[in-house]
């Protein structure tokens, strides 16, 4: 039925994105690069990984 194909297809893609996102989150940064400052100014795109508000999740990685 025409509804089944998109459901399965997007389910797979969603799962792929979640797992890759999580795996990437958990891989520690190479040493010596922890405090790399990208010198991107105080832009307010809070969804960008480098935004101060997201700093604390990446911080967890050190555990």
């Amino acid at each position: 039925m025409q509804f089944v194909a998109p459901i399965i297809f997007l389910g797979l893609l969603g799962g792929l994105y979640a797992s890759s996102y999580y795996l990437n989150l958990k891989t520690p940064k190479p040493e010596g690069c922890e405090d790399l400052d990208v010198s991107c100014g105080s832009c307010s795109i809070s969804s960008c990984g480098l935004h101060p508000s997201n700093k604390e999740i990446i911080g967890e990685v050190k555990s």
Partner: protein
């Protein structure tokens, strides 16, 4: 001949930043130093190039035959985002030096308008594979070119005495306006 004119027009004439206003978010944010601009340009080129090929293949071999064209947006977004995450993970794991120069920009690119635009434009223009590859190479080159020029100007702006109200981003906008004027002069190139 058409490929060459497509290449030149994507870089100079309808440049993605100055003519289509895409990629403005990183454009305003990252371009403080030329080195970071170069890094950003490299990362964007890498991502746009490969994600365009992946999304083109996906669209022609999966979405079109199964008549799922309406799913283009969400599929492209998920594919681009997953691709960026995987690339960042690989760079983190295997090459710290590459991470230093390119990897740190990757989180910024996932939600970048330019990447999604190129993926959608390849389908909208009905490009075949070679045209997609050429377009996916030309657009980021245009992006990087403008970013580098802009960052070198901006380094000098910080030391110039700009009126208080215009400090920071407004004056950057005015510089972008002048650059847009200059680039529109190239219109008759092709």
């Amino acid at each position: 001949m058409e490929l060459f004119s497509l290449f030149i027009s994507a870089i100079f004439i309808n440049n993605i930043i100055l003519n289509r206003f895409l990629g403005m978010c990183p454009f305003m944010g990252v371009s403080r130093k030329t080195s970071s601009a170069l890094g950003m340009g490299g990362a964007v080129t890498f991502v746009i190039f490969f994600s365009s090929i992946i999304t083109f293949g996906l669209y022609t071999y999966i979405l079109e035959p199964f008549n799922l064209q309406y799913m283009d947006l969400i599929t492209f977004i998920l594919i681009i985002a997953s691709f960026v995450q995987l690339v960042e993970m690989i760079i983190k794991k295997f090459s710290p030096s590459l991470y230093k120069s390119l990897g740190i920009f990757l989180p910024l690119i996932t939600t970048n308008c330019a990447v999604l635009f190129v993926a959608l434009e390849n389908i909208k223009q009905g490009f075949n594979f070679t045209e997609t590859v050429v377009y996916a190479l030309a657009v980021p080159i245009g992006f990087t070119l403008v970013l580098i020029i802009f960052s070198s100007i901006r380094e000098r702006l910080d030391i110039a005495d700009v009126p208080q109200a215009l400090k920071g981003n407004p004056v950057a906008m005015i510089v972008a306006a002048i650059m847009a004027l200059a680039f529109s002069g190239l219109a008759g190139l092709v």
